[in-house]
């Protein structure tokens, strides 16, 4: 599943009608890296994710992915085409199919042409990673707890054999202990599958725990780019935003 995947965004502007959400955003995610996109609510993290996935059309700028040495301009492609390339988003709020069972949700993840033939092996892998899901595979996901649903959402994305995994606010609606576990799982998946990960998150301490590097997005602009997790921890802007000191 590995293979190298990277993402380069430059000069990205995007918005909804007259509302400008992203202004001149640039960031890179190198192969095998876990990069955190930090920011509080309403600063444009989800919009950026949606731009990469083709759900929002940017007004300016470029989004380029390099997959196994081949560079592809993502702008103008439909979400379906972008997923087919191996770029997969775990959306904010999980977006499961609540009436379908765990296993039905997971198998839908394997729709992608490259993932279909490997669906049984990948299902095994997911159940190995999330034993709870194996116990509950016949249960409708709408009746599960938030933490379990987040596991299904992550596993469903893994079923698509991602090369570049985007995770949008995995901590939303979860108790602190479950946030920590979810982060550990993302780190475990990254390690075991050799993924390249871009994660939008407002839970700064938890995100920094598993990230190699990070960007801080404020009012649609990258206000700070940190070359390491340690740098993020020490940055004054971050301290002001998150710790009020």
């Amino acid at each position: 599943m590995a293979g190298s995947a990277s993402l380069t965004i430059t000069g990205l502007h995007a918005g909804y009608g007259a509302v400008r959400v992203l202004e001149d955003v640039g960031l890179t995610v190198a192969p095998g890296e876990t990069v955190a996109l930090l920011g509080t609510n309403g600063n444009g993290k989800s919009t950026l994710m949606h731009c990469v996935m083709g759900l929002v059309r940017p007004s300016q700028g470029s989004i380029r992915a390099t997959l196994d040495g081949q560079e592809i301009d993502l702008i103008g492609h439909s979400p379906e085409e972008i997923v087919e390339l191996g770029i997969v988003l775990v959306p904010e709020g999980r977006r499961l199919f609540p009436l379908l069972s765990v296993e039905e949700n997971l198998l839908l993840g394997a729709w992608r042409a490259a993932a279909r033939p490997k669906r049984l092996a990948n299902l095994e892998f997911c159940y190995d990673c999330f034993p709870r899901l194996k116990e509950r595979r016949r249960q409708a996901t709408g009746t599960m707890s938030g933490g379990e649903q987040q596991m299904v959402a992550l596993a469903r994305a893994i079923m698509a054999e991602p090369r570049l995994l985007l995770v949008d606010e995995p901590s939303v609606g979860l108790a602190p202990l479950l946030v920590a576990r979810t982060m550990d799982k993302i780190a475990e998946l990254q390690r075991r599958l050799g993924l390249t990960v871009l994660m939008a998150e407002q839970n700064f301490p938890q995100a920094v725990r598993i990230a190699d590097r990070g960007y801080v997005l404020v009012h649609g602009r990258i206000e700070y780019a940190a070359a390491s997790a340690a740098e993020l921890n020490e940055n004054q802007l971050v301290r002001n935003l998150y710790f009020g000191s």
Binding site: L55, E80, V83, R95, L99, L100, L108, W111, R112
Partner: protein
């Protein structure tokens, strides 16, 4: 056998046969209304259109009516895909589907009915398959092939479809598409394509049900009207998106109607059947087989 008991057993058996016919008429709606959230009020009219097409094809080519219905199914699939494309383009895409979409399907219904009257006139039509006059007798129990063959074919078709929906990628996508179309896109699945394909299946099922219907009883362009209330009630009672629930509800409807008709007169049967629907909804609002979210 005690005559009363024989009457009851016969009423139950013929109720089950009638119920399988209801299942045939409702199965397509369980897909369009139950799974895709498309209130296709024209579904019974499409069943009747199927019945007329079967009359023409089986009469013209001298084919068995049910075989003719199978041969016509791809044409009905195309018709369904076309109807969905128009519905999507003019209403669903703009978020106008709730009221305008309903009006659209009313329009489709009237166009079909008026079209049938213009082409075929208002007279009743029927087919005469080779087995129409054969009835098996087991003691006091009658099994007319005119009911048994279409009923059994309908149940077999629905069973095959249920298997398809449960075991294939497309089947699972059909079950998911109304719940969150955008989430499907994020899995590389085009929701519009899925809905078009599924709506085609639902209309193909209407065509097949038409073949079954015209074997059982003569039809005229308005025969669909008596089914509108029933098929929607059956889909709701069966739990919307469940084909097995739809079949079970249809059989229950058929038995309730027939037993009531046998003992208390036919005028009571709709009251009892729809009363059963109210009871089911009171105690299991998600329907008999509905999945609680």
């Amino acid at each position: 056998m005690d005559p009363e008991l024989a009457l009851l057993v016969n009423a139950i058996i013929s109720g089950l046969l009638l119920g399988s016919l209801y299942a045939a008429a409702a199965a397509g709606l369980a897909i369009s209304f139950g799974m895709l959230d498309i209130v296709n009020i024209a579904h019974p009219a499409l069943v009747v259109l199927g019945a007329f097409a079967v009359v023409v094809v089986s009469g013209g080519l001298g084919l068995d009516p049910l075989l003719s219905a199978v041969l016509l199914a791809p044409g009905f699939w195309l018709l369904g895909a076309g109807i969905y494309t128009a519905y999507h383009h003019f209403f669903e895409r703009r978020g106008d589907q709730a009221l305008h979409g309903l009006a659209f399907f009313f329009g489709v219904m009237f166009i079909i009915e008026v079209g049938l009257v213009m082409v075929f006139g208002a007279d009743q039509r029927y087919v005469d398959p080779s087995y129409a006059s054969i009835t098996y007798y087991f003691g006091d129990i009658d099994l007319p092939l005119r009911m048994l063959v279409p009923g059994a074919s309908a149940l077999a078709t629905i069973g095959a479809l249920a298997l398809y929906l449960r075991t294939t990628f497309t089947g699972r996508a059909i079950a998911a598409v109304a719940q969150d179309p955008e989430a499907l896109r994020l899995l590389a699945i085009d929701p519009v394509r899925i809905k078009r394909f599924a709506f085609g299946i639902s209309v193909a099922l209407a065509g097949l049900a038409g073949g079954a219907l015209v074997v059982v009883q003569p039809i005229d362009p308005w025969s669909g009207h008596v089914f509108i209330g029933r098929v929607f009630a059956i889909v709701i009672m069966g739990g919307m998106a469940s084909l097995s629930g739809c079949v079970l509800a249809a059989l229950a409807f058929g038995v309730a109607e027939n037993v009531t008709a046998a003992f208390y007169g036919p005028s009571w049967s709709p009251a009892v059947a729809f009363g059963a629907l109210l009871l089911v909804l009171a105690f299991r609002p998600q329907g008999l087989f509905g999945r609680a979210a």
